[in-house]
Amino acid sequence: MSEDLLVQIENLQFDYGGKPVLRGIDMRIPKGKVVAIMGGSGCGKTTLLRCIGGQLRPTAGKVRVHGAVVNEMRQAEVYALRRRMGMLFQFGALFTDLSVFDNVAFPLREHTDLPEALIQNLVLMKLEAVGLRGARDLMPNSLSGGMARRVALARAVALDPALIMYDEPFTGLDPISLGVIGQLIRRLNDALGATSIMVTHDIQESLVIVDYIYFISDGKVVAEGAPEDIRHSEDPFVRQFVHAEADGPVPFHMPAPPFAEDLGVAAARGAAHV
């Protein structure tokens, strides 16, 4: 195993209620990079993220972070590891009973004994980095979707994590907010010297900001490469994804019995012949 890998995933498998979601994923995520994991909705991307964070235990395979196997750790070790991880949830998941300031201060207050004056400075620095120092006294329910996502980002990086994970960071954002979040992900990663893993299906934004892309379909890695390679890829799955084609290797139709049968047309025709 080479030294500069932060996360290494080997033959990861996960079943949900007997139904396989991940069927043997291999990934190598080097330190300092922003890596996107892409795929259609419900292909197991979020499950993969949860396995890296130790919230789900895979059925088989290994997830290594800093060389240690996450899925063999005890709860206390997982918690120790998570102090060096930040995660941005799909809709921010801000604590609705705390103000913006207290949300960002939450990890600092829970995990450090820093004096209140220092916490204040740290929180204001994080809020300044996402451009929302002016929103410190607002409550989460008075923020727009994009602002909430930025506050959640400030909270995720409050403890200067080595690994930042993003679960669908672009969902439901207008084009301006989307661009802002994209730039922040790149800038924060480089400024903190962190490593980022981003689960998303926004191909155009990802091609601009990430260093490497993995495509997942049906619980397996089907394609991977740097943005330049992906753009010019001849792989049918990647082409369908990049050009947003409705039908292709990912079928438009969910598997179903023949249409005529469902409508009862076949039966009616049969009856007419009698």
């Binding site: 918690y79 998570r82 949830f89 799909q90 809709f91 998941a93 604590f95 009973d97 939450f106 829970e110």
Partner: protein
């Protein structure tokens, strides 16, 4: 299409499901107790929950207590004066409140006011991934969110029941002495003579403490265990209120039959 085997299978599955859920709730209770250190060490967290479930329930508890006392005064006087013992009104009002009505009615009100709010809050935190987010920040949601709410409820409940009984006795006095004209001295001295501190008052407090544990546990468990959707949270709230009410009434019967031995 009646199928007795299918019916039996359904019944069995229902029983197994409920027993299983009871087991999950018990394990949750043990986990909650084991992780209560934070809630007690960082007491402002628990104080805040005492404010939410205790202080904010005061209005409904005090007003209901007063009205229950007023009704007890009216009905009690009407029955007692048939036997020419209207002076025993104080005894009757105080004993019924301290032994039964205080803990039980305050418990039912507490379940619908504070219990439902706790379930809704925890359920919504779960539905909006706040609990998962906390867990990912290496903060245990059971220790940080659930335990303070549980202990806040456990501490609030006996205090609310005591206030309920106090307001009720005041209401009984108001009707009996001030409006109907029962002798003031007889009302209080009879009460003083017949209410025993350990036998009546402490048993009542013990009851309300047991109800406090039951209602708070049901409320936090239903919230934590709810399906993370709007429908799931609303069903969890309904279950909190219904299960709490049944638990209070059933526990009350068991406790009464143990505490007041000469009844049986």
């Amino acid at each position: 299409m009646f199928n007795p085997v299918e019916l039996l299978r359904h019944l069995g599955a229902g029983v197994v499901e409920r027993v299983w859920r009871l087991g999950v709730a018990s394990r949750f209770f043990v986990a909650l107790l084991l992780r209560s250190g934070t809630a007690l060490r960082r007491y402002p967290l628990t104080l805040r929950e005492i404010w939410f479930s205790g202080v904010l329930s005061l209005i409904i508890i005090l007003v209901s207590g007063l009205f229950v006392g007023l009704v007890l005064g009216l009905q009690g006087y009407e029955i007692l004066q048939r036997y020419g013992s209207a002076e025993a009104l104080g005894t009757m009002v105080a004993l019924s409140l301290l032994r039964e009505l205080g803990p039980v009615v305050a418990g039912l009100l507490f379940a619908s006011r504070a219990g439902s709010a706790i379930t809704a809050e925890i359920g919504l935190m779960k539905a909006t991934e706040q609990l998962t987010a906390m867990d990912m920040m290496a903060v245990d949601p059971v220790a940080r969110v659930v335990a303070p709410r549980f202990w806040g409820g456990v501490i609030s409940m006996p205090l609310l029941a005591a206030l309920f009984s106090t307001m009720g006795i005041f209401g009984g006095w108001l009707i009996g002495v001030v409006f109907i004209g029962v002798d003031d001295g007889a009302f209080w001295s009879q009460m003083q003579a017949s209410v025993d501190f350990r036998y009546d008052i402490l048993n009542g407090v013990l009851k309300s403490a047991v109800f406090g544990v039951a209602v708070s546990l049901i409320a936090v468990f239903e919230g934590y265990d709810s399906a993370p959707t709007a429908e799931g949270v609303s069903r969890a709230i309904t279950r909190t209120v219904v299960t709490s009410a049944l638990a209070i009434l059933a526990l009350d019967f068991v406790l009464t039959s143990f505490m007041f031995r000469e009844l049986s």
